[in-house]
């Protein structure tokens, strides 16, 4: 079997675009089979070819939760034993009180609103997902729970991997330069808390820039440079 690739570099592809003909390759991301078994893109994305591996990284699209995703949700409703969280998905996600408190919850002895109120922000993990139904969240693992203070930044969820970066280089450098506390939700919501609001604004600016320029090489360096300049400006104004 021979692999014939149309071009071997990073480029933008659109739905219906033939990426490769022939067989014997590994496909990942937004790709499907076309006429005569050829590989076609099914979303606008960045095409990456590495040997026999073809990947299309989508440039836009809705958030579809997966088991194990870390998400940031806003409490929008509650019942006696669970809260409903808005997580940028079609349905509100359910967070059981016992999964949030990490202990059995007795509704006859305590009130659910004593722990979380409407409008509060929670960092949680997607514990269970059923096709076409509301997901179930959990805070049982370490590091998850209520987020207090700070600000929320909303971006397109497909750009989240870029905010984190390869081996989380991007996120680590933002944290290092700004010394801000950042939680990234796979659902496109990012929580930032810093010493001063100016720093939070700077992080917001940087993340919006990452969202816009996600498909262009050399992004980490550009962001680092801008952040360092921004921090210098903030310290000078002190």
């Amino acid at each position: 079997m021979v692999i014939r690739l149309k071009k071997s570099s990073v480029r933008i592809v659109v739905p219906g675009e033939v990426i490769a003909t022939g067989q014997n390759y590994i496909v990942k991301g937004a790709v499907s089979k076309g006429l005569d078994g050829c590989v076609i893109a099914n979303r606008i994305g960045l095409l990456k070819i590495k040997g026999r591996e073809i990947t299309v990284v989508p440039l836009s699209g809705p958030y579809i939760p997966k088991r194990g995703d870390s998400v940031i949700g806003i409490v929008v409703d509650f019942s006696v034993v669970y809260w409903l969280l808005e997580i940028n998905y079609v349905w509100r996600a359910r967070l059981d009180a016992s999964d949030y408190l990490k202990r059995p919850f007795d509704a006859s002895r305590e009130r659910i609103t004593d722990h979380l109120k409407i409008g509060e922000v929670v960092y949680a993990k997607v514990a269970h997902i059923e096709r076409g139904m509301a997901p179930i969240l959990s805070c049982r693992e370490k590091g998850y729970g209520k987020l207090e203070g700070g600000r929320l930044i909303s971006i397109n969820p497909v750009k989240i991997p870029r905010v984190i970066g390869v081996k989380s280089t991007m996120l680590e450098s933002i944290k290092r330069i700004t010394e801000a506390d950042i939680r990234v939700g796979a659902n496109g919501i990012i929580w930032v808390k810093a010493e001063r609001p100016e720093i939070e604004e700077l992080v917001e600016y940087a993340i919006k820039k990452i969202e816009r320029e996600a498909h262009i090489a050399g992004l980490t360096k550009r962001i680092q440079k801008e952040l360092m300049e921004g921090m210098r400006r903030i310290h000078r104004g002190k």
Partner: protein
């Protein structure tokens, strides 16, 4: 100056058209995506004087909920003409024609969409005709498929569409309103990567043995439009790269 019906017929008999283009040329086409910031996907398409804005929302909760399909998403298309889009004011209430065209556009798009990825959900497509000069359904399909792609909805292919006319032995591409009144109007849509037609209609009488020629002419025109759709979608991202002085 208003061109009389006779004048259009006279020109057509000579193989000419009122706007000076040749029989097989589509009108000048302008396209842009991402024109509405709040929507997941949007596109504006101008084919000659016809101008259509298309906005895509979703996937969202299916409303009304009894329409929800546990196997796939529901595609809801609303084709509307703005009150100012026609020569005489169009009543804003949805007409029989608008409801029918909504269905026609939905059926032309559905084969291209991977709706099974979004069970129980709904994807809404709004097509608003801003200016009507013939071929509003084809412009709507062109705009809708680009807006859907821009929204990141998985698609097998983009859908390109054009109307082909037949008059007295002559086949002409991309009719405007004046030609639409006298020719047999055959709007069609296709998925060029699969070589599949997703829509074909005919609103007049024309010889049945000409259908092959009509299709051939239409397919050629649709492939041109398809290339333009692809370029427009890519351009959106390449423009951002250019701003930074990159490739």
């Amino acid at each position: 100056m208003k061109l009389s019906r006779e004048h259009v017929i006279e020109l057509l008999k000579e193989g000419k058209r009122i706007d000076g283009r040749s029989l097989l040329d589509p009108r000048p086409i302008q396209m842009e995506v991402g024109v509405v910031e709040r929507a997941e996907g949007s596109a504006i398409v101008a084919m000659g004087k016809t101008r259509v804005l298309c906005v895509v929302r979703g996937p969202m909760e299916c409303v009304p909920s009894y329409l929800a399909d546990p196997e796939k998403a529901v595609l809801d298309v609303a084709y509307r003409m703005a009150t100012f889009s026609t020569e005489e004011r169009k009543s804003p209430s949805p007409s029989r024609r608008e409801i029918e065209l909504s269905k026609v556009i939905r059926e032309a798009l559905e084969p291209a969409l991977m709706l099974d990825r979004y069970p129980r959900m709904m994807i809404r497509v709004y097509c608003l005709v801003l200016q009507a000069d013939g071929g509003t359904r084809t412009a709507s399909i062109n705009a809708a498929s680009m807006a859907l792609a821009y929204a990141g909805i998985p698609m097998r292919d983009l859908v390109a569409s054009v109307a082909v006319g037949y008059y007295d032995g002559k086949i002409l591409v991309d009719l405007n309103a004046a030609e639409d009144d006298i020719c047999a109007d055959i709007p069609m849509a296709m998925m060029p990567a699969y070589n599949k037609i997703t829509l074909i209609q005919a609103d007049h009488i024309f010889p049945v043995d000409k259908i092959g020629d009509v299709l051939k002419v239409g397919v050629n025109a649709m492939k041109k439009i398809y290339e333009l759709q692809r370029e427009t979608l890519k351009k959106r991202y390449i423009d951002i790269a250019r701003e930074l002085g990159g490739e």
